[in-house]
């Protein structure tokens, strides 16, 4: 296996005509970890990854592997493995032949084909035409292609999309293993829940811009603007909140007040003479923090 290297995006911008798909994006991804590259559909994830891989030319800025652009890598497949979409195959070609073509192009030994097919669990389907593959099998074949050169860096675009629960479990364990071997793993997803069990670090983008960069745990620290409050006199509490101009929802476990601060809500209840049975600032879950970061339209 090749050394894992650092992926670096430096002020990368991409415009498609009038659409700015990626705006001045800068971040780096370290080896030995799984980094989640998150953002809602249309956030610019695929475009960013394609720029990193030399498939799309940035309007400005650069993305490199330890300082070298993909097009200048001396052994691209031996340095970086990428799986970009589930349908980059000729349907009439067998999986083994598909891999053999690119092994030849990259000067890799033919034995790699069987090895990677086995790694992704397709060893008994290698001689079938890809046209008959399920989406899950295509995702695995995409991974097999990424592993062909035994690279130190893996770049995977939505690899979990379309997998069944068994496939999802498998890929999570597989990514863990790859990172434990010291590889740099960058995985994109539009759903935090899909990858939150696998990733150590997150890079979150929305509308082509970086909105958060840190550990997965750092997402938990994002302040929530909601307060949970309850009272034996819920009706009175409701009147008081309404009078103060707050939006709220009454649930079984309490009343959730939006855009509020616990101290302020306590003061309002006290002033109205409403007894409280509980009062706390809502602890933002990972998913809520994620949605708050990417904006409402992110909740697709």
């Amino acid at each position: 296996m090749a050394e894992g290297v650092t992926i670096e995006f430096t002020n990368v911008t991409k415009r498609f005509g009038s659409v700015e798909a990626v705006s001045d994006l800068s971040f780096s991804v370290e080896p030995g970890q799984i980094t989640g590259f998150l953002g809602p559909n249309g956030a610019g994830k695929t475009t960013s990854l394609r720029m990193l891989l030399g498939l799309v030319t940035p309007t400005s800025g650069s993305a490199t592997f330890g300082g070298t652009t993909y097009r200048n890598l001396s052994s691209p497949l031996g340095t970086v493995g990428a799986a970009l979409e589930a349908a980059s195959f000729h349907p009439g070609r067998t999986a083994a032949d598909h891999l053999r073509v690119y092994a030849q192009a990259a000067g890799l030994p033919r034995s790699r084909v069987g090895i990677v097919l086995e790694q992704v669990g397709l060893e008994s389907y290698g001689n079938r035409r890809v046209g008959g593959y399920s989406l899950g099998m295509r995702q695995r074949l995409g991974l097999a292609y990424a592993l062909l050169g035994d690279p130190g860096v893996l770049v995977l675009d939505e690899p979990i999309n379309g997998l069944d629960p068994e496939g999802i479990r498998w890929i999570r364990l597989f990514l863990r293993q790859l990172a434990a071997e010291g590889r740099t793993v960058l995985v994109s997803s539009h759903l935090l829940s899909e990858v939150q069990q696998s990733v150590d670090e997150v890079v979150i983008i929305a509308h082509g811009k970086l909105v958060h960069r840190g550990t997965l745990a750092s997402l938990d620290m994002v302040e929530s603007k909601q307060v949970i409050v309850d009272s034996p006199n819920r009706e009175g509490l409701g009147w008081a909140l309404q009078a103060a101009g707050y939006a709220f929802r009454s649930l079984r476990g309490g009343v959730i007040v939006d855009n509020a601060d616990a101290t302020e809500i306590g003061r309002i209840a006290f002033a109205a003479g409403i007894p409280l049975s509980s009062l706390s600032q809502k602890h933002a879950g990972l998913e809520d923090s994620f949605l708050a970061l990417v904006g409402e339209e992110g909740a697709l």
């Binding site: 695929t46 475009t47 394609r50 891989l53 030399g54 498939l55 799309v56 030319t57 993909y70 097009r71 890598l73 691209p76 497949l77 990428a82 970009l84 979409e85 349908a87 980059s88 195959f89 000729h90 349907p91 009439g92 070609r93 067998t94 032949d97 598909h98 053999r100 073509v101 690119y102 030849q104 192009a105 990259a106 000067g107 292609y145």
Partner: protein, 272 residues
């Protein structure tokens, strides 16, 4: 240089690992054999006087074999063009440019490798087509007791030039595929141009001297000049033609110009 050899190898394997090439090859051989054999038989029947002898085209014994054998390329050339064009447009259609450019990020190198690999494949198609036209044609000539000229070095030189023409046509197909990435559009253009537009242009250009001097640079005219015999030269014997090597250079120029234009328009584009 090693990386270039690997790219050619991979492009060659791409063709051999799908069914397209042999389906096209089988149809081509059947078509060429049918036309070459059928025409030999018709001319044979007419020539022996059992048909309306007076209206039969005047074909000497010396003309017959080269004319019949040249059908392999003069009507068969559309198959290598389709092969080159379909293989190239297939990369866009099936999005296989992504794994291709990931394995070999130098894109120009892949296009050149494709031209080389399909030139070789076109030559192979040329061999098959010649097997079809020479096989069927000489077989029927034997039935009529005509001289199939299989011992003549001139005939084998024609066969070799026809194989070169087919190889060049396949490269033209690659250039065309890079220039017109839409598979449907490429097929329609290839068929419309080779079956209607060019034959009409060639006929029309032959009507005046000045247009004939342009018409000889049409790809089909260049190809016939390269092969050295075809039913066009028979129907319009006064036709201005290039030398065989000039014909080869003109065809090669079509392939290169189309590929260069394709490189700058579609090949270098963002792969999204």
């Amino acid at each position: 240089m090693r990386s270039f050899g690997r790219a050619i190898h991979a492009e060659f394997t791409k063709v051999t690992t799908t069914r397209l090439w042999w389906i096209l090859a089988i149809v081509m051989v059947a078509y060429v054999a049918l036309v070459a054999g059928g025409l030999t038989a018709i001319l044979g029947v007419v020539g022996t006087g059992s048909g309306g002898g007076a209206r039969a085209p005047q074909i000497s014994d010396a003309q017959r074999a080269p004319l019949i054998y040249s059908f392999g390329s003069s009507i068969g050339y559309v198959f290598p063009v389709l092969l080159g064009a379909l293989v190239t447009t297939g990369e866009f259609r099936h999005k296989t440019l992504t794994p291709t450019f990931l394995a070999t990020p130098k894109r120009g190198r892949i296009l050149v490798a494709k031209l080389v690999a399909l030139f070789v494949f076109g030559a192979l198609f040329g061999v098959f087509a010649m097997v079809g036209s020479v096989g069927a044609g000489s077989g029927i000539m034997a039935v009529f007791g005509q001289d199939a000229q299989l011992g003549s070095s001139g005939i084998w030189a024609l066969v070799a030039r026809a194989i070169l023409a087919m190889a060049l046509w396949c490269a033209v197909g690659v250039g065309l595929g890079a220039l017109i990435p839409s598979q449907v559009a490429a097929i329609v253009i290839v068929l419309a141009f080779t079956q209607f537009v060019e034959p009409i242009l060639r006929f029309a250009s032959g009507l005046t001297d000045w247009s004939a001097s342009i018409g000889k640079f049409l790809p089909g005219s260049a190809s016939d000049a390269l092969v050295g015999s075809s039913f066009y030269t028979l129907s319009a014997p006064s036709l201005v033609a290039l030398d065989w090597w000039q014909g080869a250079l003109v065809l090669a120029a079509y392939a290169v110009v189309a590929a260069v234009l394709g490189y700058f328009t579609s090949w270098r584009r963002d792969v999204t």
